[in-house]
């Protein structure tokens, strides 16, 4: 650890002797500086809750994401994945699944390094929660918190979350946890992502967004 002073002149993609990539670790630290975002998955839908409205972006009708960290880093990634999602609809006449969308995002996130003009110069300093629904139902990486309050939020989630809670309960839980970990107590903007296990795919009327101001 005391050697880090002299390691900064290595290339971005160069491993240390101990097998670590410094830039990646520092990037993860950068994401921990960001505002907290919480995601909860229930059988009826997924809830994403964030401190401010800007880190919430929709990717397609049925998929959205919450970010934490250097938001500006995530904007081109989200743009790219929005285009991928529409390309998929054009080619295959169907919405892209949540996992494939996340994969498309990740494909771009690790394109960094020197020597290749198309690559970014450094890793992105943002972490994302991608939530949505596809033919397998609502999807998120179970119950997760990212950002500065993530440790506190994660432990609170451990206690309060279980797979079978309803969407209503999940919203309340997400909000209360967010409130607990936030420093300033004003203005929470929860963003619902509501989906129902839909028996017939044509009925898109049930799927929508709500933005609540409290």
């Amino acid at each position: 650890m005391f050697l880090t002073r002299t390691e900064h002149d290595r290339g971005i993609n160069t491993f240390l002797l101990e097998g670590r990539l410094l830039q990646i670790e520092y990037a993860i630290k950068a994401t921990k500086l960001g505002s907290t975002a919480i995601g909860l998955k229930t059988k009826e839908g997924v809830v994403l809750a964030v401190e401010k409205p800007s880190p919430l972006l929709d990717i397609d009708e049925q998929i959205g994401c919450a970010m934490s960290g250097l938001i500006a880093d995530a904007c081109p990634l989200v743009e790219h994945v929005r285009v991928e999602s529409q390309n998929h609809r054009f080619s295959y006449g169907e919405p892209m699944s949540v996992v494939s969308t996340a994969q498309a995002l990740c494909d771009l996130a690790h394109r960094f390094g020197e020597g290749n003009k198309e690559y970014m110069s450094r890793p992105v300093g943002v972490s994302l929660l991608i939530a949505g629904h596809d033919e397998n139902g609502p999807k998120l990486c179970v119950a997760k918190a990212i950002g500065s309050g993530s440790e506190g939020a994660d432990s609170a989630l451990q206690k309060q979350y279980n797979k079978d809670i309803t969407l209503q309960e999940a919203e309340t839980t997400a909000l209360s946890i967010l409130k607990q970990v936030m420093e300033e107590k004003e203005g929470i903007f929860p963003y619902y992502f509501v989906s129902f296990p839909f028996p017939d795919h044509q009925n898109n009327a049930d799927i929508g967004f709500c933005l609540l101001f409290r």
Binding site: F90, S91, Y92, G93, E94, M96, S97, V99, S100, Q103, E135, H201
Partner: protein
Amino acid sequence: MALSRDWMYENNGGTCVAIAGADYCVVAADTRLSIGYSIYTRDYSKICKLTEKCVLASSGFQGDIKALQKNLAAKHLIYQHQHNKQMSCPAMAQLLSNTLYFKRFFPYYAFNVLGGLDNEGKGCVFTYDAVGSYERVGYSAQGSGSTLVMPILDNQLKSPSPLLLPARDAVTPLSEADAVDMVKDVFASATERDIYTGDKLEIVILNASGVRREFMDLRKD
């Protein structure tokens, strides 16, 4: 003649038919490959299985059709790797349409009928023109004998009229066995009058238990 500067296609003839039912789909084509007034072979399959739930039958220039099938199979493999699942029949239908339109200014000389089961297990048939215009229908015929076959299917399949409101699903209420018999009758009739149709009939039946193949002899003259 194929490959002269001004005409790069051939028509190898043949007829393809597909019929969608409530929980099955029947896709059939004859096996004669012709050129002009000659027969190249009596035993050539015009049917290609693209996925477990989706089968393509094409008539026209078999050279282009072979290339089209390879193209679709490759794209399907990539899709499976990227998305961890097989393509559904409606997704393949859209892909085929895009693939055909991609060559709008030097088209595949292929008249396609795509048949299979949709995401809910119901039969679906998609019919195409050479540049990718497509429509989901309850039944269709393409190829040299299509004009002989379509009127019979219109008459005999008891499908709801497309003019009805509210729009009904065009799948036929016939059972799978009846649909297969119908296909055999229809090809026997087409063989009588169309010189490019004959030799043998290949029938592929898709249903919940999988894919089944049947053959029937047709007149060889």
